[in-house]
Amino acid sequence: MANELTEFILVSVALLGIGIYGLSVKRNAIRMLFAIEIVINAANLNMVAFGRFLPHSGGQTLALFSIAIAAAEVAVGLSLIIVAYRMYHNIDIADFRSLKG
């Protein structure tokens, strides 16, 4: 392997930091979904990197499961955002004060 495990993990840490920044600063619901996606991808990168260097097939298997579950999460999250947009005519999460609308 030309690259070391540490380098992959540092990239993953950087992505995780950016995702946490997005989750804590942004108030736009779709941007927060972007940040969640970035965090999930950092986790997947970590799993595949450790799976390559150990080496063990479990890392890739878990990453595949994680990608599939993330797809389900995005589908539900986006439809929740659409419902909230229909209720409040806005996608700012500070406006989502009550669930009944």
């Binding site: 970035i38 991808n41 298997t61």
Partner: protein, 170 residues
Amino acid sequence: MADAAFLALSVITIGSAIAALELRSLVYGSIALMGTLGGIAGFFILLDSPFVAMFQLAVYVGSIAVLILFTVMLVKRELIFKKVEDKRRKFVGIALMLVFMVALGAVILDSGIKQITTDEPAVDFREIGDDFLTYYWPALILMGLILSGAVTGALVLARRVDEENGQRVN
């Protein structure tokens, strides 16, 4: 030492992750998110796992990014470009991010992870298939149920009630 492909991929991935969160327009933001997801697929290829890379391209870049793009297009035009955020909150967020990165990075650089190297061949993707159908088969079935439940739930949530005669329309 890192090679050129790794450096280029990490610049693309991290740069477009920042762009996805900071670009003014949500449409460009979601295209930048596609760049991040594609960059992660490139890392998977560098890690000798082409199967996961193809899965990432098909699921993330192919479907999730397009789904996000269509949702962004459903939202009103002013909201796409509106950017509401506190200046103070932003600085606190950046400080939190830097502290987090430096602390976690220092821990990782100081730990024994550096000594993990391998000369063994990469895991064959046939092994992943074996895993899926032997040890992980309950999880595989559960995942299928979760996916179908999530898609059905998303369709039910996004349905709209017609106010005039109380019928549900799509």
